[in-house]
Subunit: 479 residues, 3 copies
């Protein structure tokens, strides 16, 4: 007995009940109960994965939206990358430091073939704006960041490929994509358009992922002796092997952007890298450095040429052919007591010959987020950041025009401290969201840092100076 | 007994049935039925809120899409704000008067924490275009209008906050956001980026909402004696208390946009308001003015300075520091007989020193929508609008350039009448949608109204003159 | 007994069970089982259509995303329309020939009124870009392609309208919208903003659809002797009757774009069509040309004036008033053996006086996709295309400026062959998706084809020449 047509169902059920009540034999009625139970169980087994998003459509999100104000009640510059070191990846703490509405709307569709092979289509639409208005057609940036399919549990795969997944399209890598949340900085990020395979298992303890990603270097100035026009494009192709030995991860990437050596840097310099190599050694710990419950991650990254952008692999086409960068990242999370939790982190990098032969970039950020859980819905959050930087730019101009936006040498420190009374549906843990916060921050920096580049946040105008109080409100959610 | 793995379910159920049929004791079989019933009930209780959108993902929409043609079979200008009074909020009737595709796609995600606290994330993506084409990458306006979270039923809230909700992010206010639907005009609208609390209950009959909204005033010309560059931005911060005493609503807002007094209006005038105040007194009636079944709303709004944009609170940065506006809005809905229903409305405003010291804007719109319900799927709709206006602009130019787009004084009347045969899934009531309409409208206006501003709809070209017939087709939906 | 409140359910069920176990009479317990079964059946009948998307929200998609590289490891031009004939609709095979990420995200919402009338709201958001990057705010093209409602099963419709559906809004036509998939070319496409009725049934075997679509011709240069400014817009209104006699489809459309004859073509020519007529005769076969199992479609299309764009009805406003086009399309699908399947197709067109009096466009494409199904998840796909073209353009310049982008006469052939190892969740049939492919293509063309127009893909630069190998990877999905 199937109830395919919903509108007829109740009357049909009623009819069945009436028929049953007239049945002379209890056994027969019992059979009918069995049939109805089986039918219900069967239908519910079909319906349940659809309703819960295990199959069919499901929705995921990351979003934040906040108001960041200075003492004069006007918006101020902000964001974890607001210091000069931020221009080369040196993030500071994000709490009470984000002036934008940024969101990712992720639409998934999952299917299971009759042979058991699973497929997952993912579409991510994202937007970013610093406008507070409710109509941002002129200020927003809606765009598609991901559109890919991934197959898993493939019916015909066996041996070392038995548990493998394959994918193609535009995506953020599944594994080369983990962050220090409190700095809004990935430790490593690999994204673009390509194809790959995950979870080739060589043994219980050893597995690898392999991928080819392309990225577009678009409309850069190029040497017209070699290429026809002054505005040029090419592709950076990145081959990666990402390998796991228990808790240890070792990643190696090689990349090539054909004819990127014809790119003009600072107007005349034609020494941009055409190739690059990048590697990361990381450990994913399941305690707080062996000291207490929690977790930690530590990573050392090293890159040369096009690989010298250590975080966002292969994304920077201005890198010098001799560029060398080494980055260190570590963070951990733990409870100090029943109600207090702590997440400290360090991110640091040194790089040389990065954009111009002879330049040198060095920076280090220390950050700690501390939280005191007070009621079921309320906690106090505190965050302290300290960053030191010594940037010798050789007059590098990222626009390639060698003029107004050129960067000057700076050497100095930046500090900020934030206190944020925070509401959440259920207090507890480092990753519980959504949160609704109000916050106040105090930040100071060496005046020298204001000379890095025209239009830079620090020193942008006389309303935003060192020894600055800022405050505001923000929501943050992911699911 | 749980049936977590869908694919195994039927065989498991069959096995259970076989096992049961072999059971010697009826009591034991009965237990098993109990267990299966309980398991089903439990699973269904989990699945149901997910399937219906009570929890997890749900989708809401407002959308309209129509073709509005003149007698020469070409698109004509349209929209409720097409008259000169429309430039200061004076809407006329919308039926048969909308030339655009406008839509809001609302993606919700609702969660319930273990402690019972509920959270609701809402993302609204909107688009607007007058192009009829199926590819509008160059003409559309896709953007994010809302992205916020709201917590309700907070486990740790008690006393006057027991039933309160809190929110943060970019949003349309939940309550300061109700309209005269037939004019496509909100009576009041508050939106932007901020945070707030709803439903602080002082007594059974008295409750209040409190909020802080920021809005961005972006890229306006400013006095270079005070600010470094000619193009300037600031933030308008709006603090609001919205209070309810039974059916009576009293709302009061104060706002400040730091340094907005350095804005240049009409090229040279530096008397833009830096602060403002806005208040509304409204009554939400649950009959048709006490005369018959139905509903009505009546509101008086008053604002000064930045508060003198009475509808869209805090959204107009060009307002004069001495600006004073008073608006009156009333509408009601009722059935005249079993098949005829009527919704009359009045919207009127007077404002002085609005943008230029000495200007005066006065307008009044009367509108009535009448419908005759004919079959289960069909009704005839009629709408009549009459608007009178007397606008003394003092040569105000909203672009701030003091030239081409400057507005001239006008004094006159506008009338339109529309007849719209309408299909809908189920006829009945004022708010049943979707609707599919065809329509014809006749409109007339005083020729003087054509001189208001260059490029204005009225008198835009010789194909769109007073005593105009227009016609077309449209769909409208919300859910 | 209803379990409306999910959170209370289990305890309620437990209470019921406890109560039942205490019941002295078995009959009473049995009643209770009946009640619980009925309640479950009723709730499941409500929940099921919501969970499966039969009612409420559902999600559909078409998407592809791929990397198309030349031998130098840089992106190359591509797409089925890359040849000169492509500029007038002459597609070649798409396998291994698509350099873009294109996707359609379709959000549906279906409702059933109490009287049984069904409504379906459909919103389609689409994007297109050739950038491989994961942030394409500057390169993407997110826009709304469809937003319409359709009512079916109308309670009050009877007679020939009993099974009819009506619709209004912006849409792709339901029926005038079918393609030769392997060419990425519709055989016919009708889209825009309007209203219509489907399935007016005159007899068991004869039914018709009627529609009015508007399309916008936007910002074209016009003769200033007649219209005020140099940049002008108008609307093309298309009335269509689409009729079915068994497997035979006969479609006739008339269209008018008021004052389109004031359009300037090539700077000075004012002979653009103001009206047009278009017709198609098609046969939808349910075997492979009567030879074997499979399907086939064959169509002849003819258009004059604005109707001379034979595929995309009414979409080209530059057509000459004397333009005449005739297109032929045929394809079929069949299995050659248990594991080999074949889909051959031909698309050809001849048109005269298309844009300039005296021009002549003739092209023919032959394409065949062959696939060998190897394992449950893997098949080899092969595609061969051959296109011949003879285009006499009379110096036509689609930009209307009569200069740089002007097209030259070309006469020659283009060939391409692709081999594509392909993974899919379940091999079998022509329409099973998603697919993940890697591919290599070889293409050759007559050098003369490189002179068609400046910036054209063929001959765009010295890295993309005849006798070209290209390769890459791509995903394709629809659901």
């Amino acid at each position: 007995m199937m109830f395919a047509k919903a509108p007829n169902h109740s009357s049909l059920a009623t009819a069945v009940m009436l028929a049953m009540s007239a049945t002379p034999l209890a056994a027969q009625a019992q059979d009918s109960v069995e049939e109805r139970l089986s039918a219900l169980e069967e239908q519910l087994a079909e319906v349940k994965p659809q309703a819960t998003g295990e199959q069919g459509f499901s929705f995921n999100t990351y979003a934040r939206s906040g108001l960041l104000l200075g003492g004069d009640l006007q918006s101020v510059p902000g964001g974890p990358y607001l210091t000069p070191a931020g221009s080369v990846g040196g993030a500071v703490g994000r709490l009470g430091n984000e002036p934008d509405t940024y969101l990712e709307a992720i639409l998934n569709y999952k299917q299971v073939a009759e042979n058991g092979t699973q497929s997952h289509y993912r579409l991510m639409i994202a937007d970013s704006t610093t406008s507070s208005n409710d109509w941002t057609a002129g200020d927003g940036a809606l765009n598609v960041r991901q559109a890919y399919v991934e197959f898993s549990n493939l019916a015909s795969f066996s041996g070392i490929f038995e548990d493998s997944s394959i994918w193609a399209g535009k995506r953020f890598d599944r594994d080369l994509n983990f962050d220090i949340h409190w700095l809004d900085s990935d430790i490593i990020f690999l994204g673009g358009l390509g194809a790959g395979i995950y979870d080739v298992k060589f043994s219980d303890n050893v597995k690898s992922n392999f991928s080819l990603y392309g990225r577009s270097f678009i409309d850069f100035p190029a040497d017209t002796d070699f290429v026809p026009s002054g505005s040029y494009s090419t592709d950076n192709l990145i081959l990666t092997a990402d390998n796991y030995f228990g808790n240890v991860q070792w990643t190696i990437s090689g990349m090539k952007a054909q004819e990127n050596d014809q790119r003009l840097v600072n107007g005349t310099d034609t020494t941009a890298a055409e190739t690059g190599v990048h590697t990361m050694l990381a450990y994913h710990g399941d305690s707080f450095f062996g000291l207490s419950d929690g977790n930690f991650k530590v990573a050392v990254l090293h890159g040369q040429g096009l690989g010298a952008e250590t975080k966002n692999i292969g994304a920077d086409g201005n890198l010098h052919e001799d560029a060398v960068s080494t980055r260190f990242a570590v963070y951990g999370t733990t409870y100090l007591s029943e109600n207090w939790r702590l997440a400290p982190s360090i991110l640091a990098e040194t790089s040389e010959d990065r954009y111009i032969k002879g330049d040198e970039y060095q920076w280090l950020t220390f950050n700690a987020r501390l939280a005191q859980e007070i009621t079921a819905n309320f906690e106090m959050q505190y965050e302290a950041s300290w960053q030191t930087m010594d940037l010798k730019t050789m007059g590098y101009d990222p626009d390639g025009t060698g003029s107004q936006t050129a960067r000057n040498d700076v050497d100095g420190n930046y500090s900020r401290f934030t206190i944020a009374p925070t509401f959440k549906p259920q207090v507890g843990g480092f990753w519980n969201r959504p949160e609704i916060r109000v916050f106040a921050s105090y930040s100071t920096w060496d005046d020298e840092l204001e000379n890095y580049a025209a239009g830079d946040p620090l020193g942008a105008d006389s309303d935003f100076e060192s020894a600055q109080w800022t405050f505001g409100t923000q929501m943050e959610i992911w699911f």
